[in-house]
């Protein structure tokens, strides 16, 4: 325990010594101030003392507390914490392992009565300290803003701490492995960014193919309904034949989208679920903290492509249902398995290497 505390203390001192930690924290403070500066009333949005009258964003559509929760869960966390702060976090922590295994430094650590695997894992967890401290401060400030400005003290806000740290850990485990393999801070950082970009690409591909599949499912259902109705009404073949052809085309398109979605899903299944992990925050706040807004404006919208027969709302509901059908095990469990495999390999490598 003395050793673990010493390593944690050293990591804290390291963070303290790094300017980037304080810069990130200061930027987080600015984001929170910006969040607090925003307000909503029956006329529209307010920014500080300025009033912006908006017909679609006002308290008739969403209560004040929901407004802040949506800003927190849909904007601030995904864009600030899960992108910019995560990048700054990676920049700050990517040197942990290359520095640790550099000559002179590793000798000092390995010559102590601590096993290599424990040393590696403790250093790994101290690397997560950066994000943990950042998110904890951020979530606490957000909790205060939502409480003071929104009038609701929402403890579920704090679920963002483990979720964002978890998300960061997916990338950091890869960064740690690259740091061990390349011994270079720059190389490990760039390779991690590349890996993140790859995950992003796969996520986008899977999302697009899922959207295509969903749209075609809805289209197929409509085509089937139209055909059934036509047959039931006893329409002549001139009417039913085009409907049958459309049905066949929809089936063909759907099969094609399903195939590509299956490939995207298969690749994604093996990778950490960065997007879904962050989306869990929205899902949790929606389920546990009444975050859902009465958003009727989309109901009349029509979906692009696919002959514009499908309502946007129906499409979004179907997509949300599909995403929500992916359970915690698939999102977090499979990601943790990925992380575990990477860490086990890195740990094995670290334990066997000569320095």
């Amino acid at each position: 325990m003395t050793q673990t505390l010493a390593l944690l203390h050293a990591a804290y001192r390291e963070l303290n010594a790094r300017k980037l930690f304080w810069i990130t924290l200061a930027l987080s403070g600015i984001v929170i101030v910006a969040m607090a500066a925003l307000g909503i009333n029956e006329k529209g949005l307010t920014v500080f003392w300025w009033q912006f009258d908006l017909a679609l964003v006002n308290t008739q559509f969403m209560p004040v507390d929901v407004f802040y929760k949506i800003i927190f869960a849909e904007l601030v966390v995904p864009y600030w914490l899960a992108w910019i702060a995560a990048i700054l976090g990676l920049v700050s922590t990517s040197s942990i392992f290359p520095d640790m295994i550099s000559g002179g430094s590793i000798d000092v650590l390995l010559s102590k009565p601590i096993s290599r695997s424990r040393l590696f894992l403790t250093r790994y967890f101290t690397g997560l300290l950066f994000m943990t401290l950042q998110v904890t401060v951020f979530a606490t400030l957000a909790f205060l803003v939502i409480g003071i400005r929104g009038g609701v003290w929402e403890p579920w806000i704090f679920i963002s701490i483990p979720l964002v740290v978890l998300f960061f850990s997916y990338l950091f485990c890869f960064c740690a492995l690259m740091g061990l393999l390349t011994r270079s801070t720059i190389a490990s950082l760039l390779l991690t960014m590349l890996f993140w970009f790859f995950i992003f690409g796969i996520n986008s591909f899977e999302g697009i193919t899922m959207a295509g599949e969903t749209a075609n499912e809805l289209s197929l259902e409509l085509s089937q309904a139209d055909l059934d109705e036509a047959v039931e009404m006893g329409d002549p073949i001139e009417v039913t034949e085009p409907l049958s052809e459309r049905l066949a085309t929809d089936e063909e398109n759907l099969a094609s989208w399903r195939f590509w979605n299956l490939i995207g899903y298969g690749i994604k299944a093996a990778l950490p679920k960065t997007d879904e992990t962050i989306e869990l925050l929205s899902r949790t706040l929606r389920d546990k903290a009444d975050m859902a807004a009465e958003d009727e404006r989309e109901s009349q919208g029509r979906l692009f492509g696919v002959t514009q027969r499908i309502s946007m709302r129906e499409f979004e509901e179907r997509m949300t249902d599909k995403r929500d059908a992916r359970g915690l095990f698939w999102i977090i469990g499979s990601s943790l398995i990925f992380e575990f495999i990477l860490l086990a390999f890195a740990c094995w490598l670290f334990s066997r290497r000569d320095f």
Partner: protein
Amino acid sequence: MADAPTIDLQEVSKTYRGRVHALRSVSLQVHPGEIFGLLGPNGAGKSTLVKIMMTVVRPTSAVGTVLGRPVGHKPTLARVGYLPEHHRFPQWLTGRQAIDFAGAMCKIPRGQRIRRTAELLDVVNMTDWASRRLGTYSKGMQQRIGLATSLINDPELVLLDEPTDGVDPVGRREIREVLVRLRDEGKSVLVNSHILSELELFCSRVAILVQGTVVRQGSVESLTRESCRYEITVDGTVDQIAPLSGLGSVTTESLEGTAVRLTLQTRDPSDVQPIIDELRRNEFTIRQVAPTRDSLEELFMSSVTDPATGQTLQPGAGRSGRTHVTEFSGEATSEAPPPPPPPPSSSSASGETEPGGAS
């Protein structure tokens, strides 16, 4: 010396990638209450050997014990102090924090650490600098803090890799005093160093490692015993000395001016008397008669010199197929046969084995 060895290594070998033989069946013993010097040219395997004992490098094969436990036994390291050659502590730590961190990693309770840190800062004369960051320290100051970190756990065995590197003469003396104090407390100290004159001052025993093999091991006195000789300096020239019939197996060498040095390989002063008589009989002025023996540096140089060619061996670990080491392999004991004669002007040739780079 009757106690069990602190370090008792038998057949320690390390081969990198199956080709580079950093260590070849190294055997070595260090006893309680002695300062042991590990010498060798760059790349001889000294640091690798120390790193194996400290579990930084995994041996290809190793039989032996450190403090009575098998090599690689992690908990034993709590009783060992180690100062790596190019140690690097986090530069944002202060001197005090670095020593405290090293103590915590050795599982020393906080109260004890605080007390011991203050003591050690005093020992290495760094109390006034204790609250400044390591990044602001000079090389010598970092070395002092490094020494303190290696002693925080009050170790029974201390392994120091170039401890006086970058330290000024005053600091060197202080470090030397610390090592002698440790020895007097019954602790074992193993020192890797290139500064042979310094090692000669305080090492009880030494081992010379060349291309991964221990070619000499023993006390400096025992290792240089075979080189004991008497040197007689007289006025005159070699030509004037040569005709004398009663000088026996004396070798002569011209010195600057009109002086000659006669050397007789013997430890017995009675062997010298007839030569003095002969010189006096022929009215040579005797300036000096002195018993002498090889210095550690001369011993070292003879160990790293190929007896066949008279050339110093190339630095670096032995690779498969290189044969230099086998010529020395039979000499790796404390009762080593006399070393091959040093090459001409050997005493000034030490620079030839120092091409730079860490060993």
